[in-house]
């Protein structure tokens, strides 16, 4: 289980308005929770406690139940993504070629756990399922850039580029 996030929530009034509209749309219908969560994640990019609390009050579902649903489905995230989104593929091919060590190196360098974002909002780290680039294993993506056949030295060089 990831630690509670330390990045302060800074939702805008516009985002709040959109969320309230989504709540209004589904309120009172059966199974409102999942569609509202989807829209909320579209709006904010992630589902922090502030957003989940608003939804809890809005559609009258206990916060604990909402959190249970959010943590059950892998498509929902409670952590924001960083400006730089580091994602290491943990598919079988990448894994056997040392993706684990790459994750550990990135964790150490940017100081975050998998699934979390650094306190300054710069870097987030994710472990992904196979992204279908097995020929390039092990693979790291940063936003839309793909880096393959990595050694730990390559990883250091890539990190240097972004962290400057």
């Amino acid at each position: 289980m990831v630690e509670n996030n330390t990045i302060p929530f800074n939702g805008t009034p516009e985002q709040h308005e959109k969320l309230m509209a989504a709540i209004e749309k589904y309120k009172g219908t059966k199974g409102a929770l999942i569609p509202v969560l989807h829209e909320a994640q579209e709006i904010y990019g992630y589902l922090p406690i502030e957003v989940q609390k608003t939804i809890a009050e809005g559609i009258n579902v206990p916060l604990s139940e909402i959190y249970g649903v959010v943590t059950f489905y892998t498509q929902f995230v409670t952590q924001p993504k960083g400006e730089y989104r580091f994602a290491v593929c943990l598919g079988t091919a990448c894994y056997v070629k040392g993706a684990g060590a790459i994750i550990d190196r990135i964790k150490e360098r940017i100081g975050v756990e998998v699934g979390t974002c650094s306190a300054d909002g710069k870097c987030s780290l994710d472990a992904t399922r196979c992204i279908g680039a097995c020929g390039l294993a092990p693979v790291l993506t940063v936003n839309d850039d793909v880096y393959g056949k990595l050694t730990l030295d390559d990883v250091d060089a890539i990190l240097d580029k972004y962290l400057k």
Binding site: M1, P62, L63, S64, E65, I66, T74, T78
Partner: protein, 581 residues
Amino acid sequence: MDVKSVKLKINNIDVTVPEGTTILEAARTVNIDIPTLCFLKDTNEIGACRMCVVEVKGARTLQAACVYPVSEGMEVLTNTKAVRESRKVTLELILSNHEKKCLSCVRSQNCELQKMAIDLGIDDIRFEGENPHYTVDNKSASIVRDQNKCILCRRCVSVCKNVQTVSVIDAVGRGINTVVGCAFEKSLSDTPCINCGQCIIVCPVGALREKDDTDRVWEAISDPTKHVVVQTAPAVRVALGEEFGMPIGTRVTGKMVTALKLMGFDGVFDTDTAADFTIMEEGTELLQRLESGENLPLITSCSPGWVKFCEHNFPDFLDNLSTAKSPHEMFGALMKSYYAKKMGLKSEDIFVVSVMPCTAKKFEAARPELAGNGVADVDAVVTTREIAKMIKQAGVDFINLPDSEFDAPFGEASGAAVIFGATGGVMEAALRTVADILSGEDLQAIDYTQVRGTEGIKEATIEIAGKKVRIAVASGMANARKLLESVRSGEKQYEFIEIMGCPGGCVNGGGQPIVDAKTHMNIDVAKTRAAAIYDEDKAMTFRKSHKNPIINKIYEEFLGEPCGPLSHKLLHTHYTERANY
């Protein structure tokens, strides 16, 4: 409507049961035990653990007996090789992930998992689980959660969500990473948890327990500078015996008093005496409000689980709550004023221990608003279970003890105070006094049976001295929510409402002895304990609070009038709105 009956065979024995019965219940009627873990009658019937599997002829896979309804001509086998093996593997898998520390576990010998391992003859666990260690959540004043012992049966989730509508715990995560916990891994103390402890008494294992305060009590007893007094609530005396193997509903008042005296308390008193004060104060409050028409309905506030629920969910009713403190808090306040003076003691040298059927009383005792002049009214609260543990630690042979009487001056109480322990009891106690005052008579018809019984919501209109008083009684927060929503919307009107946090009232409090799922199938625990409470009431010399001579003496000597200035200072308080999360 007639319920159809269904004929079936279980292990080749003919069984006839009403339609809708589960295989589990049908088997019990012919003395066949099917092991269960997640099932708890009326509370959790979700078929999650698969301990209860049986073979049903014609079905391709084994079926969960706790949720599978019987049908005509069905043939069930509960003890085949396939069944035994499946149950064993299920249990071994649960045990492989379980922190098996029975020797130091509060639930040892009263644990459904431990019993199951013994019954199924587990002598080896073939699987090695991944055992991440979870931090124990002990930040709450009342409840400790230890996920390392949790078997994910979800009984606590069901009770918190459906019976209490508090819903602060749920299943979090998925697959092998699933845990039962609070949103965002919060401690229970940072949620709107009302500390009722209903989750503890439904948990089959040692994953939930009360915050242990027994060490603090022992320490005070052995401190020569402390004068340690103990008081016991009415519901304790009809349940404590269970911890020593006595049947549910056994009254052990006399033995309990003897045991407490043997343990070294300087005074052994009865919370019931204080309950008589609560009635005098609250009854007077009711009369005043009926007169002025303000803040009606009056709502009782002696259940701290309910009070916290109100602060979180019904802040618009806070002015309706009685300002009278709960009995054990009144007791503490009187100990540290009246009693201290009488005994020539300093109030800070008196250590007040409350023995309660309740875990929420621990939280209540720590409320800053319940500390007059910075000295807490009550210093430590221990549950019925904790006092049983202390009696055992003291080497007292409880079962064979002779009876003794509570100490003076807080030893005599009325029957009205005793029935505080059952739902409807506070209402009935107040009515006995209020009716006498309004009519100016010593009324003989004092059994208000309309408000007795364990139904979730009871209502009645009664006539006192020509005045109509509309009353309602609710226990368990789902019922309280329903009742108050109907008052809020204007659909219902009452003058007086009693609300208890736990379903059935204090007899079924979260600090009471834990009864296993199998016993729950045969016995209505709250009802059986409540019956013992009403027997106790019948046996009392005085059955109305205002007839208790001690009460009158203390008002005369010390307090003055009910709801007078000194009473207000010592015996009343107020509560404030709380945010959810």
